[in-house]
């Protein structure tokens, strides 16, 4: 008995020697206060406040709010070629460090909740893409759900994780290797991406992770990491190298909100680097129509009896959910609405510009919602108000450069984030 015990201990020490523990540059110092490193900077919000004429700060506060809204809006709208057909592996850290409570309720639960939201949003934005989920626990990479285009499978798999506890150390290398394996067979016209949610400050790997990074590069897999604790050098290296020198794929969450934003940013299809890299091809797709049968029949995909379904337009097999690949003839079946859902990424709505008082008099109300704008003050007051906050329009008007209609900030936000149409251009027609 005593003997075997000794042996066991010995084994462990040996193992540890072999393990190449990759640590963050100085984990302890960064652990609490400087989470997020360079991203975090003291902002003196009170210094931007200026008293208005009436002695209150309400006007400035309103301006700041509006500028804030606007800031989120002003993104690049050059129509980029984007990887619309995506293959993404989501790797979730399920190691001990995830039980920390610095994110409420715990890192683990919050991550799982956001992961579910992520899956939903991902398929909302990328309806013809594929997703798979892996977990890192106890030094192993574990398969949570297989590559598929069906969100519910992933959601239930992630939901099932909630009953388990985070355990052991994570291994980035194992996770990446498994992801690489899963992405290996994906067609070349789609993207290959990995998103890692990483709560630990170390990775306990069986081999040289740099080699894995090398193979990832050669397989054209892009890796993004969302860190929860502090910046880890190996993660940064991983992201930089696999994204062609672009560091932005690595972000460290400052708080719950920021964490969510970092994850949700990934749902937007990534820009393709060049035409060389992504082999573009013509895909054959079927657009089936929905049928309802009087008597239930088995569907070809799950062999479950159902009444409604979609008939493959080539071989007439019945599938119960779209998008799917026809189980018998392999044709990609999709709703045309799924394709249409991605169009706004490809043809984004141009940013609207601020309107100075000089041109403000031409409108008195928002073109879309009819809310009235503040009236134009006498000319001598223009300068006073125009020196205010950057990014917001002094006259509260925003102009579409194509149709020259004026809109309010709320409609601006709504048009760019939700509808992706310009109310003015659409309703004035081709004249």
């Amino acid at each position: 008995m005593a003997d075997s015990d000794e042996e066991y201990v010995g084994d462990v020490t040996e193992d540890e020697d072999e393990l190449q523990v990759t640590r963050g540059d100085n984990p302890r110092a960064k652990k609490r206060k400087q989470r997020g490193g360079a991203e975090w900077e003291l902002s003196r919000t009170w210094e931007t406040l200026v008293e208005g004429a009436d002695g209150t700060i309400s006007s400035t506060v309103e301006g700041l709010l509006e500028a804030n809204k606007r800031k989120r809006l002003l993104k690049d709208t050059t129509p980029l070629q984007r990887g619309i057909i995506r293959h993404l592996i989501l790797i979730i850290d399920l190691s001990q460090s995830m039980s920390e409570k610095d994110l409420r309720p715990t890192r683990y639960l919050l991550t799982l909740r956001y992961a579910q939201e992520f899956v939903r949003e991902f398929f909302e934005q990328n309806p013809i893409s594929q997703l798979g989920v892996l977990g890192l626990r106890d030094g192993l990479a574990l398969r949570v759900s297989d590559m598929s285009g069906n969100p519910t499978e992933h959601l239930t798999a992630i939901q099932a994780l909630k009953t388990q506890d985070p355990k052991g150390l994570p291994s980035l290398q194992n996770g990446l290797e498994m992801a690489r394996g899963a992405l290996f067979h994906t067609p070349s016209h789609g993207t290959r991406e990995v998103l890692i949610i990483f709560g630990s400050l170390l990775s306990s790997d069986p081999g040289d992770i740099h080699q894995t990074i090398g193979t990832l590069i050669s397989d054209k897999v892009r890796v993004g990491v969302v860190g929860l604790a502090a910046q880890v050098a190996i993660c940064r290296e991983l992201c930089t190298k696999t994204n062609g020198g672009d560091e932005t794929a690595y972000g460290v969450a400052l708080n719950e909100q920021h964490f969510r934003e970092l994850m949700m940013d990934v749902t937007t299809p990534p820009a393709a680097y060049s035409q060389k890299e992504s082999a573009s091809s013509l895909l054959m797709m079927g657009f089936p129509s929905r049928t309802v049968e009087t008597a239930p029949s088995l569907c070809a995909c799950h062999s479950k009896p159902s009444r409604g379904g979609y008939l493959c337009s080539r071989c007439n097999s019945k599938v119960c959910n779209l998008p799917a690949e026809c189980p018998s003839c392999g044709l990609t079946l999709i709703l045309s609405t799924h394709l249409a859902r991605s169009y706004h990424h490809l043809f984004p709505l141009i940013n609207w510009i601020e309107v100075p008082w000089r041109r403000a008099s031409k409108s008195s109300a928002c073109f879309a919602c009819g809310i009235s704008f503040p009236s134009v003050p006498p000319e001598d007051q223009w300068l006073v108000t125009e020196s205010q906050t950057k990014g917001m329009s002094v006259s509260s008007r925003y102009e579409c450069t194509a149709c020259h209609s004026h809109f309010c900030i709320d409609c601006d936000l709504f048009a760019h984030e939700v509808v992706h149409n310009c109310p003015g251009c659409q309703s004035k027609g081709a004249e």
């Binding site: 619309i84 949003e121 573009s280 013509l282 054959m284 249409a340 169009y343 043809f347």
Partner: protein, 366 residues
Amino acid sequence: MNTVDASEHYELGATDLAPSLLTIVIDTNPHAWDILEESLPLSKAIANILVFINAHLACNYANEIAVVASHTHKAAWLYPSQTLSHSTDQDGDISMSTDTTPQPNKYRPFRIVEDQVTRNLKELMESTTPDHLRGNTSTMLAGALTLALSHINRRTIAWAEEHGGANPDDAPAEGTAPSNRYSASNEDEKLQSRILIVSVSGSSDSAHQYIPVMNSIFACQRLHIPIDVCKLSGDAVFLQQACDATKGVYMSLAEPRGLLQYLMMAFLPDQRSRRHLVLPTRVDVDFRAACFCHRRVVDVGFVCSICLSIFCEPPPGSECLTCGTHLDAGNYNSKPALLPRKKKKKKKVNGASGAGTPISVSTPGS
């Protein structure tokens, strides 16, 4: 009887029901109405719709209405008037317009809506020149839907502010992602909005609006706004898909003369009542797509992997007509190669590991 259980203290909140905002998009395409002249002239249809609007307003004190005309050359507001810039005051009441012709036989809010709708419609019709009509037989559906959505957005924000519900304005300050901001957590407590499209034009003419119409439909889907369609003539593939995606009611009227009864029966109930009712829906929806090259309706097509344009046959010269990318037309539908070709990374930073052989490392314990 007085058991205190979890369900009980929710009941009080449940009575706090939000009013509904109905936005009607009327297709005023003169070409299409001309065909209908025999059975249901526009004036009669408008009269029917006005009664329907009154019925909607009668259902709840705080119910609101908005009417947009989707004309051949522009989309325009019929109610509330954009010229009366503040058409709604804090309550959503109608602001006092000055032209009060005393008419004691009609509930005032009803009359104000009627007056504005008929006046604006008349203006719209008078502003239509023969030039506008020539060679333009479609209707500005996308614009009308976008205007309707903007109005709904405005009213939803205003309503939430007044009633202290989830205030969408606070979210951006905290930086919530848009998906969360616009999908309400609590369905019953926000303004119940829905859109009714009274459509007469066929869809084939408006194929050039395909993308904006689809964008509006997805916006509705995200905001949980049902789109109801009352089709008086023709049949529109887009609108069928719109109803299907947003869980609205699609009805193609066999007898346009009975418009009012159809409106009252199928389109009046709001979202809350609809939960209790069996409403007419289409079971078979046409999901086929129109190809970008010949506007043919196809059930098997070719899709550009870059811009997702749909073609009915491989485009000439293997070049996508929309984005100009050269497409590997030969290997469409081919299975991926077993060994993917190695391609040069455009911006490679660390060249050293580029050619590294894939090492097969088994995970410990596996």
